[in-house]
């Protein structure tokens, strides 16, 4: 995480982004409980849900559940991106950064990238653990596609959560928003069970849930196909949310 000392002026946005990421990174690793919890939580999820849950909907339930846990992890990680920005806002850092000549958008980009990449580190732990406890090993292309989908989904969620954080004024309302969004999204998705065993209403909701979208795409990858259309759509949605987030950011920081 070393930042190059001399970057050309036109690379200023890059320098801004890398420096902000460097800051969030050290703050994260200094806060040891935070590191442990980000790493242990997804593992716990996989073990409890994948191994301990008594219901088995499909043949290799572990292969079925892993994509769900992966996306769930990215969801909780991505949502916390707004939290990072919220604290910077409340504690007065944001105003200090906004008064600097470095392009303001680099703050936003850094939060989204940092959180998405941190989410991928968590995903890696789940993938390794899943194999250790009996999931099928995929080929490198499949892993690459899985990471791509997770990354896009991470950017999508963290851009969404930073946009909300920009609008809200205090951390309590943001925490309330997080709680309100995370659990319903997870349980009303295809994470835990296939559509055909869901009650009709749940299946209807799960079909339009962005979470299922990412989960299904990863399952397709696991089944050996390349889900081109879902990936392209995910790319489009992500681009829309990122642009929207940038727009809101400019609007609230005049």
């Amino acid at each position: 995480m070393e930042v190059p000392d001399d970057a050309p002026p036109q690379g200023w946005i890059v320098k801004g982004v890398t420096t902000y990421i460097y800051r969030d990174f050290i703050r994260w690793i200094r806060y040891r409980v935070g590191v442990v919890s980000t790493l242990v939580l997804p593992a716990a999820w996989l073990l409890f849900v994948g191994l301990a849950l008594p219901v088995k909907f499909t043949g290799n339930y572990l292969d079925f559940i892993t994509p769900g846990i992966l996306v769930m992890t990215i969801l909780t990680a991505g949502i916390s991106s707004g939290s990072l920005l919220m604290f910077d806002k409340i504690l007065g850092f944001l105003n200090k950064f906004l008064a600097m000549p470095v392009p303001r958008e680099s703050i936003l980009v850094s939060k989204i990238l940092f959180i998405s990449v941190r989410g991928l580190i968590q995903a890696t732990i789940i993938l390794i653990l899943a194999v250790l406890i009996g999931a099928t090993i995929m080929n490198p292309l499949q892993y690459g596609l899985t990471y791509l989908i997770l990354f896009l989904f991470g950017v999508f969620i963290s851009a969404f959560s930073t946009t909300v954080a920009l609008y809200l004024d205090d951390h309590d309302s943001f925490a309330a928003f997080t709680a309100m969004v995370t659990m319903p999204l997870f349980f009303a998705s295809s994470a835990l069970m296939p559509y055909d065993v869901m009650p009709g209403w749940l299946s209807a909701i799960a079909h339009v849930n962005p979470l299922s979208f990412a989960i299904d795409a990863i399952r397709d990858v696991g089944a050996g196909s390349i889900p081109v259309i879902p990936i392209v759509l995910l790319l489009v949605f992500t681009a829309v949310v990122v642009v929207l987030s940038g727009y809101v950011f400019r609007k609230v920081t005049v």
Binding site: K15, R27, P101
Partner: protein, 320 residues
């Protein structure tokens, strides 16, 4: 080219006019914006630092309009907010290094070492900022603000909550920066500090400038002596030739007089005559507190009065 110039700078929050047609010119000096709580000091600073857009009017910093060329403005300023914001989980050095990199300065590591030395933080540079005292955190913030050698530095209450020694230390640094040609725009509640260190002060009340000028000039506008009277019960307005009512702060009433020693006995009579019960009186030279009281106290309605009076009492130290 003047460093800071505002024309009818105005900010409304709904019905509330926080800053009202402010016209100011500040150049290569230490300028202090003084005023009671909620008078619009922070709002003014936020507009000048491109963090808040004005409802009306213009402001330019180093010749750049804050609205049309905000990036250029940000290039020549530094801003230290009212609430201290240093990353406590980072070391002092890391805190400053982040700013040096964000500003894109050449050889950031050397520059950071240099500034930590100037701010007398070298021996604690590698400790986490959470172990720093309030004064050290303020100095750390100053170090961050100075990495890119700004032409103007905005300090919102830089000495709030610091002890006498730490305050003096911060002021010495500010003074030294100004000697090197930097313009300092700061807000404060501490009249005695403003009196001692600011080249010019502006007293702001309800978003309007109520008095502007060099502290000694402003004091000279008052007459030579100040008489303070402590009374028992309600104050009944009293008039006496040769004296002027300045303001009231709790049970203390202030007057100015051209010749205090002579006016003193006459004033006692006049006060008693008007029905006041005088408990104590004292005679002193005018201070910036009196200027403040005169420009702010008079037009203050009772409701707003209570709160700033409370703050004044908290901050009223060593003025007499």
């Amino acid at each position: 080219m003047t460093t800071i110039q505002t024309e009818n700078l105005t900010k409304n929050f709904g019905d509330l006019c926080a800053v009202d047609n402010l016209c100011l010119t500040v150049d290569k000096e230490i300028f202090g914006l003084l005023g009671p709580n909620g008078s619009g000091k922070t709002t003014t600073v936020l507009m000048l630092t491109t963090l808040l857009s004005q409802t009306k009017g213009n402001a330019s910093i180093c010749g750049h309009d804050t609205r049309r060329e905000p990036e250029k403005v940000r290039d020549c300023i530094s801003y230290v907010p009212q609430d201290m914001a240093v990353d406590t989980t980072l070391t002092g050095r890391e805190n400053v290094l982040i700013f040096a990199r964000l500003y894109g300065v050449k050889n950031p590591k050397d520059r950071v070492d240099e500034l930590l030395a100037v701010m007398e933080l070298t021996d604690r540079a590698d400790d986490l900022a959470k172990t720093y005292s309030g004064g050290m955190r303020r100095r750390l913030e100053l170090a961050e603000a100075l990495v890119h050698e700004p032409e103007v530095i905005f300090l919102d209450e830089p000495t709030l909550g610091l002890d006498v020694g730490a305050r003096k230390n911060i002021w010495n640094h500010i003074h030294a920066l100004n000697k090197k040609g930097m313009t300092i725009f700061m807000t404060t509640h501490y009249m005695d500090e403003a009196d001692q260190y600011c080249d010019r002060v502006g007293i702001i009340n309800h978003g309007k400038i109520a008095a502007l000028g060099n502290p000694s000039e402003l004091k000279a506008h008052l007459m030579k002596d100040v008489i303070t009277v402590t009374i028992d019960g309600e104050y009944a307005p009293t008039q006496l030739d040769g004296t002027l009512f300045v303001g009231q702060l709790g049970d203390t009433i202030s007057f100015t007089a051209e010749n205090g020693r002579e006016a003193l006995p006459l004033l006692v009579d006049a006060l008693n005559h008007a029905g006041n019960r005088v408990k104590a009186m004292s005679l002193r030279e005018p201070s910036l507190d009196d200027v403040f009281l005169q420009s702010v106290g008079k037009q203050e309605e009772p409701k707003g009065f209570e709160e700033w009076k409370f703050r004044m009492m908290l901050h009223h130290r060593g003025g007499s």
